[in-house]
């Protein structure tokens, strides 16, 4: 008996990539915003007229894919002395606030992740 089969492939790969990409980008932004906010919380502030460094902490997009989804972010300060506060100098002890925030938020996001144990 003669017959024929027709197979139609309903390719949804591009949709899936777009969905995962958006999800990853949204999570990255959420992570970066949270980390920026926690960094500000830990940033050292001088008692008198302090807060310049804390106010200068911000984040920006540093990389994106062809679809425009953010794939990289950067947290920074524009106070010009953030590195000296973070790492200290030969005469001034370090006051780590960037690294402390990154560790804390990374752990929090790891716990929230569906795939983490």
């Amino acid at each position: 008996m003669a017959g024929s089969h027709s197979v139609k492939f309903n390719d949804k790969t591009a949709d899936a990539i777009r969905y995962v990409s958006k999800l990853t980008g949204d999570t990255l932004i959420d992570y970066t915003e949270t980390t920026t906010s926690v960094t500000k919380k830990y940033a050292p502030v001088r008692k008198k007229r302090g807060g310049n460094h804390r106010r200068s902490i911000n984040w920006k997009k540093s990389a994106s894919n062809v679809g425009g989804t953010i794939t990289g972010t950067k947290i920074f300060s524009t106070s010009n002395y953030g590195a000296y506060l973070e790492f200290g100098t030969s005469k001034m002890a370090a006051r780590p606030h960037f690294s402390k925030a990154i560790r804390e938020v990374a752990k929090e996001f790891q716990k929230k992740s569906k795939w983490s144990k």
């Binding site: 000296y84 200290g88 005469k91």
Partner: protein, 132 residues
């Protein structure tokens, strides 16, 4: 509880090309008041740490600032080179404990310090210790 800072100090001051260069000028977390960057020096501090759940290990990140004893950045970078040779993949027991391994995470040139104008090279290492 082991004293990780003390272990690192002992490791860096034990006989090696690094200790020939810096001697006992290995300070944590800051240099003494009288220090004036006229000799090669390392200043370091711990930045975070954790313990392994099952293995008898714990690890910590350490920030090392290398000073060349001059106003030349290249001298500071030379000290970093010696530090790298001493720490990278180090596995050694000193009086206060055992370093299982160490690896460089990142390193960079620092802008001259705003208060002293000293130039330094900064490095972050992850160091794994034995619990006891």
């Amino acid at each position: 509880m082991i004293d990780r800072t003390q272990i690192v100090y002992e490791l860096l001051t034990a006989s090696s090309p690094l200790s020939t260069a810096v001697g006992t000028r290995v300070y944590s977390p800051v240099a003494p008041r009288s220090w004036d960057n006229t000799a090669k020096t390392i200043i370091f501090h711990q930045d975070g740490g954790d313990a392994h759940l099952t293995a008898a290990h714990n690890s910590a990140n350490f920030i090392f600032k290398c000073y060349g004893g001059s106003n030349l950045y290249s001298d500071a970078r030379d000290v970093f080179g010696l530090l790298y040779d001493r720490l990278q993949m180090a596995s050694e027991t000193v009086t206060s404990g055992t370093v299982v391994t160490a690896r460089l995470i990142s390193d960079d040139q620092l802008e001259p310090e705003p208060d002293t104008k000293y130039k330094s090279h900064i490095a972050r290492f992850q160091i794994v210790f034995n619990h006891s």
